[in-house]
């Protein structure tokens, strides 16, 4: 255990059975030097107030459960150290732009429903039998899409995106980045199939490139970059179809 420090956590509380408006509850705790915000929340739940509700599991930044607003910024709380905040008070709220089910638990149905619409699975040219072995793919070809395959669906990007905050019909950063992840995969031929959703009004063209999705991404996925790449590639497709209407696009 490291050095302990007095920390005040202001935590967003909302229980729909008893409240119509959220409140903030203050917990004063002795936090250890090596504690992340999630450790403090677990300490509160185990020792002070077992009614506080939040999601968490792997506590190593890969399951994507524990995204919350920490002092107004979307963060994975298992990777966010309390010692990095100069202020004695740390304010914890549910992720922005999502309906709140209870306390720090948000409703992410919207994302779960949007995800399949971008066909985030491999669409090969033709099905290859297993006995023909693997599709060959050089390390360079893997590198082309690898970054966009690192998304843990933590929803931080959605809560940083004002476009999504203003209009929740926007397909959004994580889902679109996954579309580009498959579009860039040398084994995939589903670009055309994904065009319908990706280039719809709610798709890439809704993005005005605020760029905050990339800034807050804890896994360095760069969804903003992915969306701009999608814009360029689908715009080129369209231009080619105008110039050479007879030639099929690949």
């Amino acid at each position: 255990m490291g050095v302990s420090d007095r920390t005040v956590l202001e935590v967003y509380r909302y229980l729909p059975e008893n409240q119509t408006e959220p409140t903030f509850q203050t917990y004063e705790i002795d936090s250890q030097d090596n504690w992340v915000v999630l450790d403090a929340l677990n300490h509160i739940k185990a020792e002070i107030d077992s009614t506080l509700s939040f999601r968490w599991s792997c506590r190593m930044g890969v399951c994507g459960s524990c995204g919350m607003m920490v002092n107004g910024e979307p963060k994975l709380t298992c990777e966010t150290f309390i010692r990095d905040y100069d202020t004695m008070t740390v304010r914890i709220e549910p992720l922005n732009h999502f309906p709140v089910i209870r306390d720090l638990v948000i409703n992410m149905d919207d994302f779960m429903e949007k995800l399949p619409t971008v066909s985030p699975w491999l669409i090969p040219d033709q099905d290859k039998p297993l006995d023909e072995g693997e599709y060959l793919q050089t390390p360079g070809q893997v590198a082309r899409y690898k970054r966009f395959s690192m998304c843990i669906n933590c929803m931080l990007c959605y809560s940083a995106c004002p476009v999504y905050g203003l209009d929740s019909s926007f397909t959004g950063p994580a889902a679109l980045a996954l579309a580009e992840r498959y579009n860039l995969d040398s084994r995939d031929h589903g670009r055309k199939e994904r065009a319908a959703t990706v280039t719809a009004h709610e798709g890439i063209w809704e993005c005005t490139y605020v760029g905050e999705c990339t800034q807050v991404c804890p896994k360095d996925v760069d969804p903003a970059g992915a969306i701009q790449m999608l814009k360029l590639s689908y715009a080129l497709d369209w231009a080619k179809s105008v110039v050479m209407p007879k030639r099929g696009r690949s």
């Binding site: 729909p16 107004g72 922005n96 709140v100 590198a143 082309r144 004002p162 905050g165 701009q228």
Partner: protein, 126 residues
């Protein structure tokens, strides 16, 4: 039954975070650049029609006009900067397994912009 809480974005959302504000400025500078372009086209057009370039020259040399142009130049440069910063996002280049450094791409774009601008100025001043 659960009643979920939704909090709509406040109208001044873009004042809440420096990054949002910079984004809004970027969008507004594009409006300014467009407005200025239209203004130029309109003044040149009307000056050409009426054959009165001398009035235009006189106006352009006033201190009001000069300060207006300084402001417009600043806005245009800010907007150009955002485009240069965006280039490596769209133009992802690869050298075998290694991604070409985005800063390098932005740098090349920036230098190209300066050279083209310089060449244009030189041509005009000639």
């Amino acid at each position: 039954m659960t009643r979920e809480l939704t909090k709509p974005l406040p109208r001044n959302w873009w004042l809440k975070k420096a990054a949002y504000f910079r984004f809004m400025m970027r969008e507004l500078t594009s409006v300014a650049v467009l407005a200025y372009t239209l203004l130029i086209v309109w003044t040149l057009g009307s000056a050409a029609n009426s054959g009165g370039f001398s009035t235009l020259y006189a106006f352009l040399s006033t201190s009001l006009s000069v300060s207006l142009h300084v402001v417009i130049l600043a806005l245009a440069l800010y907007h150009t900067g955002t485009w240069i910063a965006l280039t490596p996002k769209v133009m992802v280049l690869w050298r075998d397994d290694e991604r070409v450094d985005p800063d390098f791409i932005a740098g090349v774009t920036g230098i190209s912009f300066l050279m083209i601008t310089g060449a244009t100025i030189w041509l005009v001043l000639m």
